[in-house]
């Protein structure tokens, strides 16, 4: 059993990846949790353990609360809008075509699929850069196309900065989830659709009573993925509005953490923000599971 072959096998196959993972992922996570209880500045070796002081400061910190609220807004709006659009498009592509009985996708569905997926392969940074230019008040595409009366400083005024940023994130996300839903819909046996159609169910009814229940697990997984992404949103926000937007209207938690850690050298406090982010993420995931279960879905996580 304990031949050289076996020992070297386990050492390399398990030991090597695990060592890397523990050193660069788990160990920093644990350290972050520890530093969140200190007043460490980052560059001196000295710090004091301050107990829950950072967390007390956190709940009284107006800027942090603004960032938290912005992330929560994103986590509510982004999944809802993105997934609804993605589901509608996926339905159109798979079962929106002509034909009674047989469900058929629209013609040229391949083209729509390929085009819709473009944004997913464009790096998020580049998407943000493109839209920063699209929304540019003086020579951006949007203002040039709109009649003068509708022109706006889209990313520069409090009322439009957040919605405009959300549009960018939705633009970037729809394609991927559309493809995910198309795959899920295609795995529903065609007979189920045929039966529903022969029983006289209309298209909306079919979407609601056949498609949605059948792809429930996929929707839940998608919701968690995109929700976690929205609770971050750093890349988009950092490029679109580096400073956090007018009146911090687009400031998100990771941006605040980044600012605290790397420009203000408050590593201890920044770690507390990181822990808060992790907690919010876990709470979000738990919420999605609970809602899915209460509304009658299975509890099996995929």
């Amino acid at each position: 059993m304990w031949s050289f072959d076996s020992i070297s096998f386990f050492l390399v196959f398990l030991g090597l990846p695990l060592a890397l993972f523990l050193t660069l992922v788990i160990w920093p996570f644990l350290q972050a949790a520890f530093y969140s209880f200190t007043n460490w500045g980052g560059f001196s070796q000295e710090f004091d353990i301050v107990g829950f002081d950072n967390y007390v400061r956190l709940v009284q910190d107006g800027t942090f609360l603004t960032a938290l609220v912005n992330n929560v807004k994103l986590a509510i709006v982004i999944p809802l809008v993105t997934l609804v659009i993605a589901l509608i498009f996926a339905t159109l592509v798979t079962v929106g075509g002509r034909g009674i009985g047989q469900t058929v996708g629209v013609k040229n569905s391949g083209f729509y699929r390929v085009v819709s997926f473009f944004p997913y392969v464009i790096p998020a940074v580049v998407t943000a850069v493109i839209f920063m230019k699209v929304f540019d008040p003086s020579d951006g595409l949007l203002n040039r196309l709109l009649p003068a009366a509708f022109e706006q400083n889209w990313l520069g005024s409090v009322s439009t900065a957040m919605p405009a940023s959300m549009v960018v994130i939705v633009w970037a996300g729809v394609g991927f989830y559309m493809l995910l839903f198309i795959a899920a819909i295609k795995s529903i046996p065609a007979e189920v659709y045929e039966a529903a159609r022969l029983d006289g169910a209309g298209r909306l009814r079919t979407l609601w009573s056949v498609t949605l229940p059948s792809i429930r697990e996929t929707v839940q997984t998608a919701w968690i993925y995109i929700g976690i992404a929205a609770l971050d949103a750093f890349v988009f926000m950092h490029i679109l509005n580096n400073s956090g937007g007018p009146d911090n209207s687009t400031l998100v938690m990771p941006q605040y953490l980044f600012r605290l850690a790397f420009s203000q050298n408050q590593f201890g406090y920044a770690s507390a923000v990181g822990v808060a982010m992790a907690v919010v993420t876990l709470v979000f995931a738990a919420l999605v599971f609970t809602i899915n279960r209460l509304s009658g879905g299975s509890t099996r996580s995929s």
Partner: protein, 295 residues
Amino acid sequence: MATLSETVSETAPPQRRPKRADTPVAVGSHVVLIIWSLVVIGPLVWVFISSFKTDREIVSGDPLALPQQWNLDNFIKALTEGQLGRAMINTVLVVGAALVLVMLLGAMCAYVLARFEFFGRRAIYYLMLAGLTFPVFLAIVPLFFVLQNLGVLNTLPGLTLTYVAFALPFTVFFLYSFFQGLPGEISEAAAIDGAGRWRTFFSVMLPMATSGMASVAIFNFLGLWNQYLLPVALNTSRENWVLSQAVASFVSQAGYQSRQGQLFAAVVITIIPVLIAYILFQRQLQGSVSQGTMK
């Protein structure tokens, strides 16, 4: 893993004669999808056209008009002055090395976790799950110092190792279910034939996992190619910049109006290779997405 055999075939099923009453629905579907396609393509076309324009044309001309001259000045300047060429090379090196490493280490780790019983197996599995769920941001501050202590902060090998470590949980998860699904008799047969554990993995099990490996590799490639947070915090010296950092830097420089064209050129240079790769491999990629949902 769900069976793939029952899925509706990729090509449209044999069609009955379409009834006239359904035409409005089909037309409506097309209208909606065409509008979305325009929303997706519009900004990209605008960026593409603008990348050939002079800064004067960009600021004062019609945004969707073709450039007066298709000149490549912006591209040349972006690649040299903007150091985009250098960043491109760095990105290819880092992402290439990280991809090979993470696929190898991830497959090895997933294989051991999926096919061997040993003490601590579940604990390792849950640790991976934690690594997958927790925000990278939480780790970023201590990670900075871990890399500094290892002497690899602001170096390409340091960035590569970090990429590998953070892509590992996803890779292990995906391949774990894949290796579990492979029939056990084959590895037993290999063992009876005298193949050691190493041999069994590299000559028998790994080749069987090729399709799973391809899917994960595509996702990892996109994820790592698009990575921004890790390099921006851990790879700050200019000559080591990756593509995402270099493109982002054009934003701050474009404040000086004279760099507008270069910014657009930089965006085009970044997008074109990925877009071409996508159009070539799109069937494969769609297969990957559907596999991802059915695990």
